[in-house]
Symmetry: C2
DNA sequence: GGCCGAAATGGACGCTTGTCCATTTGTGAC
DNA sequence: GTCACAAATGGACAAGCGTCCATTTCGGCC
């Protein structure tokens, strides 16, 4: 009856968005099928029309979240300068930006991490900072450590990657638990303080440095 | 009272232990009252004899977990040397030790963080690395930065605390998501690498240093 | 041995859960 | 206009949920 056409595949995305909103606001435990379809404004049967089960809807929501994270990240990466320290800087700043880190994003990310045990289908998308992100960092760090007189540049690059990824993960948790106290600038300064300590030729307190030696 | 009495308080603890075991193994979402009493080997009514509700049992389990973390931590702290860098070292090593960081502990910690939204009673015990731990670190860092020619020693101490706590939190998540790949020694080395970069006079790659500079 | 009150039991309650399916609605082809 | 089929609906279902409470068990005291 309404002549504004109800597009077919759109309802799939509406369900995914409603699921993410519900998880962010009331948590995965309270996110029932009833809750999701109420938020989506659709009928109960829609979920099993577009998805095999509730779990597969959750997996699609996690995948959407995962893809959005990396799309944003790789977009920042492609617009950064090519020198390794600037690529690292771009990834860090994107990860802490107002677009990249919101309460909803931090919360859904954390919930999906927990839920992997109960919902195995989520596994491929529950670890936001997986090998894909680690590889970006590790390659960039290797380019830097190879030039230095480091006895084992590959090891140094791996350690720096693990430490940096852990710190970023921890800052997300910090933001999640104390969103009102969180300061993005301060968080970035803390990360660069650590990088400046490890690679003083390439990083300062404010971010990446042009080679100054 | 005889010390062998069929102890009122014992079944309370049995319920708490069963709850923690269930959360660690199958996740909070699948941890139902039926599941808990089956693991405890008790009857349904026991939960409401010892606790107001399921949520208050969860809160008691979170509190137990929280207390155990700090008991261990403060025990390590009391047995460490008093110089600030050694107190920091003791806290870090305890946090990453085989006793302090197990899969069960990491998982329950993570689940309680998520569950705060759905179960407000958990809030006081869901943030393991809260102001209490931060204060230990911040005081120690301040003792160090005050002696240095740092323009703002208090700020430096706060930044170092936030960065260190975030990194430890992130390492726990790393351990949780990839327990088979996790190496405690490597994790400690990564933390000390960062501390050595920031405070080279007090830390080396292997841990705290006696004042050498 | 008999009694009392606390400890413990487990069946039953009303609700909500995820899933299913018999219908209805809407669109494009002919 | 009519047909065919996909999209969408929402009521019904059994299973499982957290909670409650009438009943039974049991140790300590007279």
């Amino acid at each position: 009856m309404p002549n504004d056409l109800p597009p077919r595949q759109d309802n799939r995305q509406i369900l995914i968005d409603a699921t993410l909103a519900s998880i962010a606001q009331i948590g995965l435990i309270r996110t029932s099928v009833t809750e999701i379809i109420a938020r989506a404004g659709l009928s109960r049967g829609m979920i099993h029309l577009h998805f095999e089960s509730k779990e597969s809807l959750l997996a699609a929501a996690a995948e959407h979240s995962y893809d959005r994270y990396y799309n944003r990240l790789e977009d920042h990466l492609n617009h950064s300068k090519t020198a390794p320290q600037f690529r690292i800087e771009a990834l860090v700043l994107c990860d802490l930006s107002e677009d990249g880190l919101t309460e909803d994003i931090a919360r859904t990310n954390h919930e999906f991490q927990s839920a992997t045990r109960a919902f195995p289908l989520l596994a491929p998308f529950s670890d936001t900072r997986d090998a894909r992100l680690r590889t970006y960092f590790e390659r960039a760090f290797e380019e830097i450590t190879r030039e230095l007189e480091d006895p084992d540049p590959a090891l140094a690059a791996r350690d720096l990657t693990t430490g940096l990824v852990a710190m970023m993960e921890g800052l997300w948790v910090d933001f999640l638990l104390h969103p009102q106290d969180f300061d993005r600038q301060k968080a970035a300064r803390i990360v660069f303080r650590m990088l400046a300590g490890a690679l003083p030729g390439h990083f300062g307190l404010l971010g990446a440095r042009h080679r100054a030696a």
